[in-house]
């Protein structure tokens, strides 16, 4: 009762904040009270979450959610992550993250952001009221069972992964965080202040980075747990998280144009609305059971309420946009298409096309059934065929954009600056073509190298220029550049990481796999390796029956690894689950699955994948995240330059 009661307390405080904040124009103290009310709502939701965690760790199986999500044999980490392993708990986590975001946001000290707080609070407060209400009313995580079982069913075995501890919170932090720029955009429209973009920069980068990292972690989880050999399957729920990330990436780029040139104002309000709406849409897809997916929760009544919320959010955003259209006129005009802002616009159109393609493909089963009466679905081949050219254009545009100045660039100068990266890209692509005889792989290597080399060379070039002016070393100058302009040079690091990831993606063109049945003591050859099946071990811990195969991997006569894949039968779930054994090297992954065993003997079916370059996907992601963190965490080193007349003058004349 206490846990659910705290949720209703949170609804009360969030509702009060939503009403009090707009009234603060007449009574300023109401704004202070509204801010505190948002913090109080967060405290109440955190209290509710802590109570559910306590129930999970205390194995209080009188709660239906605890019974369904954990068992006495569960390890502490999986007991912790059980909070978000089911629909009710994951909604509670959603509410908690939203409330924490809102509480931190309303306490902002940023002078640029503070004017937007009074009208952003009603938006965030309404979101808190909505999400907490559907949790408390339709998906109460504190619902009790009539009879208390001795043990719980436990979490779905597929969720027994270290990634499960981090991936959902990170993904939610990304999706939910996109509501903050939306709330500020609404506030800007209501208060007629078009200068919101610069204020919301960090509040956009944080969810954008969290969502990107969450997507990669999700890919890593799929790769190591699901046992189909890949990390991205264009699953509807994967797509649902990708869509807001694509819109947010477009927004991250176009917001720079508005910040710098006072242009694309309408476009930015639209993108902030689109990113936030797609974030809620993604949650709607996961929660409604509308589309089947390995990630989706069972069908639930909350789906229709999400649909209503989506409608209100979209109508609100677009109505405000229409209402304030005259205010959103650009301060300036495009001087030339050959300019950074011109290329950012191209980048935005391509991102929007990518959003459309993914949305269309994801919803096709629904739309086709509604229009033609039969369900048509598209799979990875469709998405790969349509998405890949768009991604290639984006990489090339990003490379050109890195060497193009604001306002007007010289085509000749741009070509000259791209010559070095283009030569490097052509050499690597040529080598790839010679070795693989695959034009598609060669093309991927070309665009990725062009972007990666451009990012590196431009950073070094700027560092040298700075070093020449200040007398510092190139390494010190790189650090100084990053500290002085984290947005640009953090961005180059992100581009470099993306380029490395794309090289990793190219490896998927050369995946091979085989399936064999072999007896202990037997062996088989695949992809230049010899696999010697040493033995099958069978044992039974409290919650499952384990089959563990020991397989030695040899190459050129020498042993290089021993792999131990498992096939487990979880008794409470009555379903087999594979623990995949992976030998990962920069060149390729060997991915070994124990697919089945004979009941009467130890003969075993193995599925083996040879996945080239997968490690580079993860390395590239780490580089990109570091770049994103630099852009967020480093503050430009000029904070106090405008504090006093003396420092203002000094900064000016330096």
């Amino acid at each position: 009762m206490l846990g659910r009661g705290l949720l209703f307390v949170a609804i009360g405080f969030a509702a009060f904040a939503s009403l009090a904040a707009p009234a603060s124009a007449r009574r300023p103290e109401l704004l202070v009270a509204a801010r505190r009310a948002m913090v109080a709502a967060a405290i109440a939701i955190a209290g509710s979450a802590v109570l559910l965690w306590y129930a999970l760790f205390a194995r209080d199986f009188s709660l239906s959610y605890v019974w369904a999500s954990t068992s006495r044999a569960a390890q502490p980490w999986y007991t912790f992550s059980a909070l978000w392993s089911g629909m009710a708990g994951s909604l509670l986590l959603w509410c908690l993250i939203l409330a924490v975001y809102a509480a931190v946001f309303v306490r902002t000290r940023s002078p640029l952001l503070r004017p937007f707080v009074p009208w952003a609070i009603p938006v965030l407060g309404a979101c808190v009221v909505f999400f907490v209400a559907i949790t408390a009313v339709f998906e109460n995580p504190f619902a009790r069972l009539d009879v208390v079982p001795a043990d719980g069913r436990g979490m779905n075995p597929l969720l027994h992964s270290p990634g499960m501890v981090i991936h959902p919170p990170l993904l939610y932090a990304g999706l939910i965080g996109l509501l903050i720029p939306f709330a500020v955009a609404v506030s800007a429209m209501v208060t007629k202040r078009p200068d919101w973009i610069g204020a919301v920069r960090r509040w956009t980068l944080v969810p954008w980075l969290a969502l990107g990292a969450g997507l990669v972690l999700g890919g890593s989880w799929a790769y190591t747990e699901l046992g189909w050999g890949g990390y991205w399957g264009w699953d509807p729920v994967e797509n649902a998280a990708l869509l807001p990330w694509l819109a947010a990436t477009a927004f991250v780029h176009s917001s720079m144009v508005e910040d710098r040139r006072g242009m694309l104002r309408v476009w930015n309000v639209f993108l902030a609305t689109a990113a936030a709406t797609l974030a809620v849409f993604g949650t709607f897809l996961t929660r409604s059971g509308l589309l089947s997916s390995v990630h989706a929760f069972a069908e639930s009544p909350v789906g229709r309420w999400f649909f209503v919320f989506l409608g209100v959010q979209t109508v609100l955003g677009l109505s405000l946009l229409a209402w304030r259209w005259p205010m959103l006129r650009a301060d300036d005009r495009f001087d030339s298409a050959v300019s950074k802002e011109g290329l950012f616009l191209v980048n935005n159109f391509v991102f929007l096309a990518a959003v459309f393609v993914v949305l269309w493909g994801t919803l096709l089963p629904l739309t086709s059934e509604a229009i033609w009466g039969r369900e048509i679905a598209v799979g990875p081949p469709f998405f790969n065929r349509v998405f890949s050219p768009l991604a290639a254009i984006l990489l090339v545009v990003a490379a050109i954009g890195s060497v193009t100045p604001w306002r007007r660039g010289s085509s000749r100068a741009i070509v000259l600056r791209l010559t070095g990266p283009a030569i490097a890209a052509t050499v690597l692509a040529g080598v790839t073509l010679l070795v693989t005889r695959r034009a598609d792989a060669s093309g991927v290597v070309w665009v990725a190298t062009l972007l990666g080399a451009t990012s590196l060379i431009e950073t070094v070039r700027a560092a040298r220029a700075r070093g020449a002016a200040t007398g510092s070393s190139t390494r010190a100058s790189v650090a100084a550049l990053l500290a002085r302009n984290p947005r640009r040079y953090g961005g180059y690091l992100v581009h470099l990481g993306v380029a490395v990831m794309v090289i990793g993606f190219a490896g998927s063109l050369f995946r091979t796999q085989t399936q064999v049945e072999v007896s202990p003591g037997g062996s088989f050859d695949f992809a230049g390796y010899t696999f010697v099946y040493r033995e099958l071990q069978r044992f039974s811990p409290p919650d499952k029956d384990v089959n563990l195969a020991v397989v030695d991997v040899r190459r050129g006569g020498g042993a290089i690894a021993t792999l131990r894949p498992q096939l487990n039968l979880h008794r409470n779930w009555d379903q087999p689950q594979s623990e995949i054994a992976i030998r990962s090297t920069p060149r390729a992954d060997l991915y070994l699955i124990l697919a089945g065993t004979r009941a009467t003997s130890d003969d075993t079916v193995f599925r083996v994948h040879h996945n080239p370059l997968v490690m580079w996907v993860w390395i590239g992601a780490v580089i990109a995240v570091l770049g994103g963190l630099s852009a967020i965490a480093l503050r430009p080193r000029r904070r106090r330059e405008a504090s006093t007349p003396a420092t203002r003058q000094a900064a000016w004349t330096r």
Binding site: P28, S643, R648
Partner: protein, 89 residues
């Protein structure tokens, strides 16, 4: 017992939230936003200098953008000097 705790939490949080309604508003008018904008402009000037030195921006482009940035910065500086003649430090 649960009901008692819930009422206690509700009362404590309500008292904390409502306290500002019975106190004095200590908010003061400052021109922090202008100061932040001026800082951003000065940062933009530094970026422009690096771009010019590395050859990304031509001499003409540099002169034009520098003049525009300086004009905007001068306007903001003038405004700050008027509202905040002694500075905040």
């Amino acid at each position: 017992m649960d009901a008692l705790i819930l009422v206690g939490v509700l009362l404590v949080l309500t008292a904390w939230v409502a306290a500002p309604l019975y106190g004095r508003d200590a908010a003061s008018a400052t021109d922090d936003a202008t100061r932040a904008r001026l800082d951003a402009l000065l940062g933009r000037l530094r970026e422009l200098e690096v771009d010019h030195a590395s050859g990304l921006v031509t001499d003409d482009g540099y002169a034009q953008q520098r003049a525009e940035t300086e004009a905007e910065a001068a306007r903001l500086t003038q405004r700050l000097d008027q509202v905040d003649p002694n500075g905040t430090d």
